[in-house]
Amino acid sequence: MLSQEAQKQIDREVAKYPADQKQSAVMSALRIAQVEKGWLAPETIAAVADYLGMAPIAVYEVASFYNMYDLSPVGRFKLTVCTNLPCALSGGVHAADYLKHKLGIGFNETTPDGKFTLKEGECMGACGDAPAMLVNNHRLCGWMTPDQIDKLLAELE
């Protein structure tokens, strides 16, 4: 189910913990699996559980708790806009509204061409750069005024 490469990466994470505590690597393993598969399908979660010797529901608990794990398919670019208080006070909600208008989708929706998915995010620890936004979980963008958003969207191809 998981590729050799993914297994190798997970093994590296597992090695960071005591031998009888493989489950400590569950968050890293889910991240690796999600990068490989695009999202965490039930069978992907079951595969991670099997690999770490955990009950599938225990992995599902983790996967459903954190919002950077996607339990349904997402577009090529997942845009997560922070709407927590500091961002909201500095235009986070506006940034989200602008994106909704521009892409024609609401939160947790994907554009018909499968290119963008819009998500509402929690604090990204970049309040000073508010409004903050995350592209595909790994790229953090700050000061997301409409101009900046237009630039970003043009850049994402």
Binding site: I45, Y60, F65
Partner: protein, 774 residues
């Protein structure tokens, strides 16, 4: 010890106690939902908030460790206000519609809301709605009622051994659920119904059929596995409505296996027989008791007169009561016949006459968690002994080293020190290896009859584990007891326990596996045992509570013997296939309708009373056998209660411990080379083990009740040129069964697992087995 004060009362508690432990010790009730004495601490419901002196805010009693000199107020203004506030929060999202909830009347939330809830809700907004989950045929859900105490989650993870439930999502979106598309399938799943403090998890078979206050609560004892779980049977209008555990720390703690809990559904099975029936001129007709008993007595007497007393045979189910077993053997012995047996699934009887007492657990059940080393030989542990497995699992998780010798690598959900997955015929050799390795480590000589063997790695590991402990045990499971070389396994296990200073125990197969021996329901002098009674067909049989084609080691042979007999007298609550071969069927009461006694595997004599009146013309088995004894002109059959029968057998004290012993005089051990052909691993599936549970409708819908397949590991399957899913013809003895082949890598090489006791496989005989494509 720590000193503390709760509501002005001074108490002393051991270090590490929580405030909740201390309060329970002095009988002070602190309201709670998520706390449960057998589960880990979650402190998620916050209902047990109490005031602690010098603490800035209320503390959860279940998670606050006692410190010396602590002062706790459980009913102070601060504490009660905190508890009331928590209750208000809990009720915000909980539906306030107790009258339509199945838990109404026995609901902890309902009860506590009377004491701590407001008269009306201040909450006007919309309540949360949660989609129900499918947890399988036994547990019904109403997830909107869930208060997220996580007792069910902790139960599956900590007690059941495999986390089947979890809390997914978070915050107000949190939901208790199984993994997507999964159900709750362990043999202990029904316990989450008892644990749920609200109406979120309820019993599917019982749902909406009665209210808690309408039912009578009667004590009883489970008639299934060797544990003899204590039951509370709830009845209404002389019908059993449901079964709950009766707490007994020494036996079942507060748990029940699903088999114990839901088997009551079989009591109202379609083929329940409620009036005596006789077959005359090939026609079945219902008759009164007198006619039926006269008919039965005449048939037995006739066969005995015509062919001699030895032409009779009596087969009893080990799930019968002690009184029934005692009277049955007394009845046939009164005719001068010694052919009586209750060990229907056993195939090796060579230990008869060499045994030093009644085989039993070898210790008290409550001592199992104190063992530090355990070797389990031949046991489908979880399915055959769900609650003993639970105790062993708790021990293993606390450091007890458990080793297993068995033909399948079943998931036991416990850490194992060593495991040998070997074909049935190699179990003797493996056990001999362990014996030799252990004798080597201990420097004690083995009995001369044990041949020298080459010790393998796994056997060496087991011996090292066993040798390193101070309080170890060897347990022989059902498969070891039903094994073709059961006596040899017994002897080797005894040698291992002797040289290793361990305790030897038998995991009792059925409710009265010990009781049958005590009752003398087995050949005493020259009688035939269960296997020989069928191999050398008798002219007349008395069958008590058993379905020979399903309950005997060789079902095909049993059925043939029944069909060939001139008279078969069946005493059973169910018709089953008896109408095909019996001459008279006497409807005797199942355990709920008769008084009686089960002696469990630890030798605990547990008597019980009927919980409901016998259905229609059904009569308790002991009464039927008593009258039959009178009609046959036997003396000493004038009992007027089941207690009188028990007194006659066990005396007033009912003390049996002096009769229990697992000792065995020497048996020559011969090691066989590995068999060339396939070997059958015949498990008795948990929900097919006796006539009652076979008819329990909801249990029959569980995954444990799936029809048998011919399961083999990949190499064996490939060696036969088969692939999973193929229809195959399984031949054993004179019997044939058509099953589908299945891939199961937990099975030892060269073996095929074909479950017994199922209608599709009961035609199979004994001995060599072949599997070929249809």
């Amino acid at each position: 010890m720590l000193q503390l004060e709760i509501d002005g009362k001074q108490i002393e508690v051991p270090e590490g106690s929580t405030v909740m432990d201390a309060a329970r010790q002095i009988g002070t009730f602190i309201p709670h939902f998520c706390y449960h004495k057998k589960l880990s601490i979650a402190a998620s419901c916050r209902m047990c908030l109490v005031q602690v002196e010098k603490a800035p805010k209320p503390m959860p009693a279940c998670a606050t460790p006692v410190t010396n000199g602590m002062k706790v107020m459980t009913r102070s203004e601060v504490a009660v206000k905190a508890q009331k506030d928590v209750m208000e929060f809990l009720l915000i999202n909980h539906p306030l519609d107790c009258p339509i909830c199945d838990q109404g009347g026995e609901c902890q939330l309902q009860d506590l809301s009377v004491g701590y809830g407001g008269m009306a809700s201040r909450y006007q907004e919309e309540k949360r709605v949660v989609v129900n989950k499918n947890l399988g045929p036994l547990v019904s859900t109403d997830m909107t009622r869930c208060i997220h105490c996580t007792r069910c989650v902790r139960f599956t993870a900590e007690i059941g051994g495999f986390q089947e439930m979890g809390q997914a999502f978070r915050n107000e979106h949190a939901e208790i659920m199984p993994f997507i598309e999964s159900t709750v399938d362990t043999e202990l799943s029904g316990n989450i119904i008892d644990l749920c403090p609200v109406g979120a998890l309820t019993s599917k078979p019982f749902r909406f059929s009665a209210r808690a206050w309408e039912m009578s609560r009667r004590k009883s004892v489970s008639p299934h596995d060797g544990l003899g779980s204590n039951l509370v049977v709830q009845t209404k209008l002389d019908r059993v409505k449901r079964v709950l555990p009766l707490e007994n720390e020494d036996v079942n703690e507060c748990w029940l296996s699903d088999k114990d809990r839901f088997s009551y559904e079989g009591l109202t099975a379609e083929d329940r027989i409620t009036r005596p029936m006789i077959k005359e001129g090939g026609q079945w007709r219902e008759v009164d008791w007198h006619t039926a008993l006269e008919f039965a007595a005449k048939a037995v007497k006739g066969a005995a007169a015509e062919h001699g007393a030895a032409s009779l045979g009596a087969l009893a189910s080990p799930h019968s009561t002690l009184e029934e077993l005692y009277l049955l053997q007394k009845l046939v012995r009164g005719l001068g016949c010694d052919n009586v047996d209750f060990r229907l699934r056993q195939s090796d009887f060579s230990a008869d006459g060499k045994r030093m007492g009644v085989p039993w657990l070898g210790m008290k059940i409550a001592q199992i968690p104190k063992l530090d080393r355990v070797l389990v030989v031949g046991s489908f542990l979880r399915k055959d002994h769900p609650l003993l497995a639970l105790r062993l699992r708790q021990a293993a998780r606390k450091g007890t080293q458990v080793s297993v010798i068995h033909p399948t690598r079943d998931a036991l959900f416990m850490p194992l020190a060593a495991r040998a997955v070997v074909a049935p015929d190699q179990m003797v050799g493996t056990l001999a290896q362990v014996a030799q390795a252990l004798a080597g480590i201990k420097g004690v000589a083995l009995d001369a009859s044990v041949p020298a063997v080459t010790v393998g790695d796994e056997a060496k590991k087991m011996a090292e584990s066993l040798a390193s402990g101070a309080n170890g045990a060897v347990f022989l499971g059902n498969l070891a007891q039903q094994h073709a070389c059961a006596s040899t396994l017994h002897f080797l296990a005894e040698e291992i326990s002797r040289v290793g200073g361990l305790t030897l125990g038998f995991l009792g197969e059925a409710a009265n596996s010990v009781g049958g021996y005590l009752a003398g329901a087995l050949p005493a002098v020259d009688g035939l045992n269960a296997a020989r009674m069928l191999a050398e067909p008798r002219k007349a049989y008395v069958v008590l509570g058993a379905e020979p084609e399903l309950d005997c080691a060789d079902g095909a042979q049993a059925l043939a013997a029944m069909e060939a007999a001139q008279a078969v007298i069946v005493l059973s609550p169910f018709k089953g296939r008896a109408t095909e071969y019996a001459s008279v069927i006497l409807p005797v009461a199942p355990f709920t309708e008769t008084s009686g006694t089960f002696v469990n595997t630890e030798g605990r004599v547990q008597s019980f009373n009927a919980v409901v009146r016998p259905l229609d013309e059904t009569r308790p088995g002991w009464k039927v056998l008593r009258v039959l004894g009178n009609l046959l002109g036997h003396s000493g059959f004038d009992y007027d209660s089941s207690e009188a029968v028990r007194h006659d057998l066990l005396g007033e004290s009912a003390e049996v411990s002096s009769k229990l012993s697992n000792g065995l005089s020497r048996i020559a051990v011969t090691l066989k080379p590995a068999a060339a052909g396939l070997q059958r691993v015949a498990d008795v599936p948990i929900h097919f083990a006796d006539s009652l549970v076979r008819r329990a409708e909801s249990l029959q819908k569980t995954k444990d009740a799936r029809p048998p397949m011919a399961a083999m590991n990949a190499a064996t399957l490939a060696g036969l040129g088969l692939s999973a899913g193929d229809k195959v013809k399984v031949k054993q003895g004179a019997g044939v069964a058509v099953l589908s082949a299945a891939l199961d890598d937990t099975i030892a090489a060269g073996c095929v697992r074909v479950s017994a006791a199922h209608p599709t496989t009961c035609g199979l005989g004994a001995g060599e087995i072949t599997v070929e494509r249809v």
